[in-house]
Amino acid sequence: MGWQRICRLDELPVQGSRVIERSAHSGGNVAVFRTASDRVLALLDRCPHKGGPLSQGIVYGESVACPLHNWSIDLNTGCALAPDEGCTQRFATRIDSGTVYIDLDAGARAPADPRPVEQVGADD
């Protein structure tokens, strides 16, 4: 599938997130986050702890606090912050001329480098 368009940057709430719905069969929902500094990051919408919907958590810095039991998950790596342990799947995103794209291919994992793939034109 490769890059898919999801929305314009301004359709994502700052310090918030929205959800791409997917059936459990195709891997489950994906949460797309926008940080205070306008970075866009995407994770599987499942906390590694007890499966809570991360999309509903409070976004701060480059982390999200799971709404169920307040685990903090690093949006760059998908991994829980110490002392909690566990990771959820990451998805690559990019912003091009104010439009947000995502790569939902399960095979094309997000890069190990925690920095975003490309961030161009994140100007609106």
Partner: protein
């Protein structure tokens, strides 16, 4: 850029803790070099007594092995004593000529045991008790010799005596003062302690002065062989002694600092003088731990030293936030089987009141000292379960008037839930559950404390999750800390910051917002020097509440700084669906509402319909996308069951129907609910109105409980039916419904303006005292009316988020999923 050089002299607990804190804040700022005079890495000095007693080994008490230093890039020199500081060249030198340059120097030289210059004090067999070396020397001596004399009946002396006794020696303790541990115990407790130590086979010479240490003839090795003393009757006595332990106190080790010309306290016991940032008179040199004199006091217990470490690390990290302002300390004797605890000023005095429980035959003695309605000190002997609780009351400076009649019987008497009513951690089995919320058993906590070297409640919470949710097991966890980590564990700091993003307390943040007319979260964070760019999930909701409650209609709500329930205006459930509870005024409903609810349940296939404890109907399992439509179809106001806000006013049927009813409680409840709904608060708020003292609406466990009596209404406040059942306290009796509205409203507004975020009314009133509340709400009519008016002003025009989402700032985008569309590459 080249990194700055930090050199630390001394390798003890306080110093290494400072490094740990520093590495957390600024891992790359310094190249760190540590010089330790002892040949060991960092160990828990507090636990030398159990090692001497044969209960633990040296390995058990290591905190950071040499590999820790390597992992953190710290250069460690063991067995190297620094003998000179060259402040001009900024260089330190060891005895064997090694040098190291510094940009910052941290002195953590600890303290030295005091040696009384008695004749014979240099004889072989006369030792102090301070470090691993001494401990080994003592253990070796027990293998060869029979008779030991310990000079000094303080904490350290008694622990040494006990250890030697357990290893089979005959031990006599010679003590100069009138009773044992006179700095930590009063006479009664000191005598009880002496009796139980005597029962273990220790001998004592109290009020006795040591005169001389006598040597064996040189052909027998010239070792010490006896102690000559004058006993309390003024009679001279000679005690056989192959081993003499000097445990008469410790003195800050300031020789190095003094030689370098750093100011040291001229008063006994000395100490390197530091300011509230732990800086010495040389701005490049900091000092920490037992070697410092802070505001004229020297601390020897670990809790204050760790408080210092935090502050010192912060300044070394160039954050420049935080001051160390002194500590109140508590002591517990680490002799297995002897329970003794003391804290604060326990000697009392003219202006103090004392509550004493004394059962000398049962071996139990408790004394609490109270001044100005506050606990200022206490001694517990034989039963120390409540030590940590008393210590907390003491440090918080909380008024104890409301607890006074139960104070002596301890916190367990106040009734917690979630751990089978257990209140004595030490009698619990390893598999017993301590924390009922997170399912943590005693064994797991003890293991974490031992293996990870935890010292504070916060650390235990972080590592194990125990006591991190509802907090009802905090007392148990503190007991485990005391028992496992050593006697003087570190309790939660006196001044508790909101979260890791800031040094500010809730009160300081509240005050700053009011005094500086701050209106937004970013402005507040900027003004108060937040360490993080946009806070965290703990501080942002608190600040958002403080802004809105302080500046109604001026500050703007930030939904992104609210927990999901208050953002989506429904309660999130474990499967990610939501529950919806519509408002039913006073718990009363009718056929058309019930029909609409039934239709909604069918239309949206809502799985569970449940009647709540607050007399409402809960629809569980609603998908987030359906929420706006569900609200619209229900056509009932939001029940705010999801918010830190007025939840429900529960009522009984009252005089309208009930043959016992004295007042129309249902109407009163409806009026209260209509007057107070949409009211956000520091935490959830629940009310109840009963029509007679039979109290069918359970007004006695509500934030505000109203009970109808023949002549009017009684108002009770600060009850709670949750974790710890708290009975509401009587506030006032009034005649009319209008007065009920005014008094209840004024009380809640006071709580809204002064409560800390997530503080229930019971804790708020506990903190400020019921007398304070009464003074404002009952005795000062003008203040009461003003509060009531401010509440009405704040609530005026407040929208219903279910039906006026635009005005309420509800982000509608959250209810619509995104769709990913494939595009041409």
């Amino acid at each position: 850029m080249e990194r700055m050089k930090l050199v630390m002299v001394g390798n003890g607990m306080a110093g290494v803790r400072t490094l740990e804190e520093l590495l957390k804040l600024a891992p790359d700022l310094y190249d760190i070099t540590v010089f330790g005079a002892e040949p060991y890495a960092n160990y828990n000095r507090i636990l030398l007594s159990p090692v001497l007693a044969g209960e633990q080994t040296i390995d058990d008490i290591m905190l950071n092995g040499v590999e820790w230093y390597a992992q953190n890039g710290i250069t460690l020199h063991l067995g190297k004593t620094i003998t000179r500081i060259d402040r001009i060249r900024r260089r330190v030198e060891t005895a064997d000529g090694m040098t190291a340059d510094y940009d910052r120097l941290l002195l953590a030289t600890g303290s030295n045991p005091v040696i009384i210059p008695l004749p014979g004090h240099k004889l072989p067999g006369v030792i102090t008790y301070r470090d691993i070396h001494d401990t080994h020397a003592l253990i070796d001596a027990t293998a060869q010799f029979q008779n030991a004399v310990v000079i000094g009946g303080g904490l350290l002396g008694l622990e040494a005596a006990n250890g030697l006794k357990l290893r089979g020696m005959n031990v006599t303790v010679v003590h100069l003062a009138d009773w044992l541990m006179e700095r930590q115990l009063d006479r009664t407790a000191g005598n009880l302690l002496q009796r139980s130590l005597e029962a273990r086979g220790l001998a004592f010479r109290i009020k006795a002065q040591t005169r001389e240490l006598l040597a064996a003839p040189s052909e027998q090795g010239g070792r010490v062989c006896a102690v000559r003393l004058v006993n309390s009757d003024g009679v001279e006595e000679i005690l056989p002694a192959d081993l003499v332990v000097m445990a008469v106190g410790i003195r800050p080790n300031t020789a190095l600092a003094e030689a370098a010309g750093l100011q040291c306290s001229p008063n006994r016991p000395g100490g390197i003088m530091v300011d509230d940032t732990l800086q010495t008179f040389d701005p490049r040199i900091y000092a920490i731990g037992e070697c410092v004199s802070h505001r004229g006091l020297v601390y020897g217990l670990v809790a204050p030293l760790f408080d210092m470490a935090k502050v010192c690390a912060n300044h070394l990290a160039l954050h420049g936030i935080g001051r160390y302002q002194g500590s109140v300390t508590a002591t517990k004797l680490k002799v297995t089987g002897i329970d003794m605890f003391s804290a604060g000023d326990f000697s009392g005095g003219d202006e103090c009141e004392e509550i004493v429980l004394s059962d000398p035959f049962g071996g139990i003695y408790k004394k609490l000292v109270i001044k100005d309605d506050k606990l200022i000190g206490g001694v517990l002997y034989g039963d120390t379960v409540d030590g940590s609780w008393y210590f907390k009351l003491l440090r918080s400076g909380r008024k104890i008037g409301d607890l006074r009649d139960r104070l002596m019987f301890g916190e367990a008497n106040l009734g917690d839930t979630g751990h089978q009513g257990q209140s004595r951690a030490l009698t619990m089995a390893d598999a017993d559950e301590v924390c009922g919320c997170n399912g943590v058993c005693k064994g797991a906590i003890v293991k974490a404390i031992k293996e990870k070297g935890l010292f504070t409640l916060e650390e235990v919470r972080k590592q194990t999750k125990a006591s991190s949710s509802c907090g009802s097991c905090t007392g148990l966890v503190e007991q485990l800390l005391m028992a496992t980590a050593g006697g003087d564990y570190s309790a939660a700091p006196k001044k508790k910051a909101i979260c890791g993003c800031t040094e500010q307390t809730h009160q300081e943040a509240r005050d700053a917002i009011r005094n500086n007319h701050l209106l937004t979260i970013p402005d507040t964070m900027h003004a108060l020097h937040w360490r993080t760019p946009d806070g965290c999930a703990t501080c942002r909701p608190a600040l958002n509440y403080y802004l809105l409650s302080t500046w109604p209609h001026e500050a703007r709500d930030d939904p992104q700084s609210r927990f999901i329930n208050e953002r989506a205006h429904a309660n999130i459930q474990k499967d990610g669906t939501f529950s919806v509870i519509p408002r039913m005024w006073g718990g009363e409903t009718n056929s058309s509402e019930l029909r609409r609810i039934a239709d909604v349940v069918d239309k949206y296939q809502i799985r569970t319909v449940k009647v709540t404890g607050g007399q409402r109907i809960d629809l569980l399992g609603v998908k987030k996308q359906d929420l706006p439509a569900v609200w619209k179809d229900l056509d009932m106001p939001s029940g705010h069951a999801y918010a830190k806000a007025l939840r429900t006013v529960k009522t009984c049927v009252g005089s309208d129907w009930c043959r016992f009813g004295t007042q129309d409680s249902t109407q009163m409840g409806k009026d209260l609910e209509r007057a107070l709904w949409r009211m956000y608060a520091p935490h959830k708020v629940k009310l109840a109105v009963s029509g007679c003292p039979r109290n069918c609406a359970e007004s006695g466990i509500k934030d505000v409980g109203v009970i109808g009596v023949e002549s009017g209404w009684e108002i009770y406040v600060a009850g709670n039916g949750g974790i710890k059942t708290e009975v509401a306290q009587f506030l006032v009796r009034v005649k009319t419904s209008a007065e009920v509205l005014e008094y209840a409203g004024a009380f809640l507004q006071l709580y809204r303006e002064e409560g800390w975020y997530l503080e229930r009314t019971v804790h708020y009133v506990g903190r400020v005292g019921l007398d304070y509340v009464k003074k404002i709400i009952v005795e000062d009519a003008d203040a009461r009316r003003a509060l009531h008016e401010r509440l009405q002003f704040a609530l005026d025009g407040e929208p219903d988020p279910w039906h006026e989402p635009q005005r309420a700032g509800v982000d509608q985008r959250q209810f619509a999923p995104l769709v990913a569309e494939t595009v041409q590459a």
